[in-house]
């Protein structure tokens, strides 16, 4: 019983991280019509930057949350620069844009390997979130519960942003019909930069707060990118609700798969994706049919 409960909490935690990662991925896909293959790298860069700030850059050590904020901003800036100076040069050529993001992801992976080496970095759990919380006979790490809370807050904030603000309305308009959005005076290309920076920042943030749980290692990018892909194919592109539900589903399948069928965990993960592709190609909550 305890085993299942702990597994379920871990699944929701992992789902929360995946939501932070895939919400941006989904928005970028929805708006710009490209799968951003650097998304796993942005997650990893966020994790490495954060870990580096915490361990200390030239003797200045930082508190976990300060490091998280700085790493997030840095990754968001990288995302904005990528969009502004590389992807912008290839307007309308989705294939070329995808290939550029693929090339960048290799550069990022090798950069991390060069700077931080091949050994995993362990990130300390932030102060005050170290212990366990006991519910009956089961004990849950506080930090995991905290991740769930953080993800929930971000989900609510993102929903507010997209559903209740002018910027959100413009983004939704851009997702649904970019040409018409341009016609009514929305500067869609500016939205691209904003959404790319937002998505990158979210991915980087997910990376740093995932650090204490997953640890930070080379190959983290290639572990996370397919998960984001599965979430978005499951949930549908450009849909926040889709990312949310997809993340939770993938979180559960991933954790239960790891525990019950460790050898086939990766394979089991892709089964629901295949089912969705066959029966509902636009995803569970998809707005846009590629």
């Amino acid at each position: 019983m305890n085993f299942w409960l702990v597994l379920a909490v871990n699944s929701v935690t992992f789902g929360g991280l995946l939501f932070l990662l895939s919400a941006g991925f989904s928005l970028i896909f929805g708006l710009m019509r490209i799968p951003n293959l650097t998304h796993g790298s942005l997650f990893m860069l966020g994790a490495y930057f954060g870990a580096a700030f915490i361990i200390g850059v030239s003797g200045v050590q930082m508190n976990f949350w300060l490091a998280a904020i700085l790493a997030t901003l840095l990754v968001a800036l990288l995302g904005a620069l990528t969009e502004r100076f590389l992807l912008r040069r290839l307007p309308g050529d989705a294939l070329a844009q995808v290939l550029v993001t693929l090339g960048l992801s290799f550069m990022a992976a090798d950069f991390c390997l060069m700077v931080w080496g091949g050994d995993p970095l362990n990130v300390e759990t932030p102060n005050g979130l170290g212990g366990f919380v006991r519910v009956g006979a089961a004990a849950f790490p506080i930090y995991r519960v905290a991740i769930i809370a953080i993800a929930a807050v971000f989900a609510a904030a993102l929903w507010m942003l997209l559903d209740r603000t002018r910027l959100g309305a413009m983004i939704r308009a851009g997702v649904d019909d970019p040409d018409m959005a341009r016609v009514v005076g929305i500067r869609v290309s500016q939205l691209f930069t904003i959404v790319f920076a937002l998505g990158a920042g979210l991915a980087g943030f997910a990376g740093i707060i995932g650090g204490p749980m997953l640890s930070v290692y080379p190959g983290l990018d290639q572990d996370m990118l397919p998960l984001a892909l599965v979430v978005v194919i499951l949930g549908g592109t450009g849909s926040l609700l889709g990312s949310f539900v997809g993340s939770i589903i993938v979180g559960f399948i991933y954790n239960f798969g790891q525990a019950l069928l460790p050898e086939l965990a990766y394979f089991v993960l892709f089964l629901p994706m295949l089912l969705v592709l066959i029966f509902r190609p636009q995803g569970l909550f998809g707005r846009y049919i590629p």
């Binding site: 293959l37 294939l95 290799f106 050898e263």
Partner: protein, 337 residues
């Protein structure tokens, strides 16, 4: 035009002669081995180019197909089966996987196709990495010996090179015939005008499916050569990086050309072998080349260099004619052609 095609035939004959004589003019076995690598990667790239270049379907899961063939033959050999059985078994596994991949991925085109093939490739990678009882995980599977078909010792660099060369030439002929066949034309039609092709009564899905199968067959052949060459297979071979490398060969060389993928394969293999002797950062360089080619020379190195060459030559001629026209005495009009 006939002058063009004569020059072309001479160039082809010269290339053929150079390839046949290669073990005699290469300075050592290391270079012969690198040449063998170029050959089987060229077959791999030719296979991918059928989809990317002629079908307009960009696959990021081809290393999965390549790897599963290599795994299947290595596994069958490790079970103690003979080379012929292992090769046939690997081809069956590979074509079966290709059929499943194609059926799933062809539910979409364009970006959707890329995403699905990427995910499928990652499944194979995940299985190779995690299904340790079958694949040996990170330790991979060793292949004890290369076969000796018809008395040719594939264990020796020259024997392997010539075998790879023969298979490579067959692959080039097959792809050439394919490109010029009605099937090839139909595939290009589905790339450029799928709806019109549909309206004309072509079964677009079936054309794409069989293109996937042909691409899978070439990939499988390359995969078998690869596993006999390295005599080892590990999850690395099926990774996304490997898929991207072969895609780079196609895109760098020039998709939808016959020569492009071959030049691309040679370029990537040589750069990788030479560069990794000096620096460790092959992946960084790979990524940088990728970005540079996509942004600066999107049509590929072969057509791109041809374009730049023409432009440069024209500019050079123009400047020269201007200089000549402006110099000293007014001469009778220079032919500026």
């Amino acid at each position: 035009m006939s002058g063009m095609s004569n020059a072309r035939n001479v160039a082809l004959a010269a290339a053929f002669a150079a390839l046949v004589a290669l073990p005699f003019w290469m300075p050592g076995t290391y270079y012969i081995n690198v040449s063998s690598q170029v050959l089987f990667y060229a077959i791999f790239a030719l296979g991918l180019n059928i989809l990317v270049g002629y079908g307009g379907l960009v696959s990021l899961g081809h290393a999965g197909l390549f790897g599963i063939t290599a795994y299947a033959s290595a596994y069958l050999l490790a079970m103690g089966l003979g080379h012929t059985t292992a090769i046939l078994g690997a081809l069956i596994v590979s074509l079966g996987t290709t059929a499943v991949f194609a059926a799933l991925a062809l539910r979409a085109t364009g970006i959707g196709f890329i995403m699905i093939t990427l995910a499928l490739g990652q499944i194979i990678w995940g299985l190779a990495y995690r299904w340790i009882s079958l694949t040996g995980g990170d330790n991979g599977i060793n292949v004890k010996a290369r076969p000796e078909p018809f008395g040719v010792d594939l264990g020796a660099p020259n024997g392997f090179y010539y075998t790879a060369l023969v298979i490579f030439l067959i692959a080039v002929v097959v792809v050439t015939i394919f490109v010029r066949s009605p099937f090839g034309a139909a595939l290009k039609g589905t790339r450029d005008q799928p709806r019109r092709m549909n309206a004309l009564g072509y079964h677009v899905w079936a054309i794409r499916f069989w293109a996937c199968m042909l691409s899978g067959l070439l990939t499988a052949v390359a995969g078998i050569l690869f596993v006999y060459y390295t005599q080892f297979i590990s999850p690395q071979t099926t990774s996304l990086t490997a898929s991207a490398e072969v895609l780079l060969m196609v895109i760098a060389g020039g998709p939808a050309t016959l020569l492009g993928p071959i030049v691309g394969a040679a370029l990537v293999v040589i750069v990788k072998n030479v560069v990794s002797g000096y620096i460790e950062r092959w992946n960084f360089l790979l990524g940088a080349i990728f970005v540079a080619i996509v942004i600066l020379m999107p049509e590929g190195l072969v057509p791109g260099t041809a374009r730049l060459w023409r432009q440069g030559w024209r500019a050079f001629r123009r400047r020269r004619s201007v200089v000549l026209a402006g110099s000293a005495e007014p001469k009778p009009a220079e032919p500026t052609q």
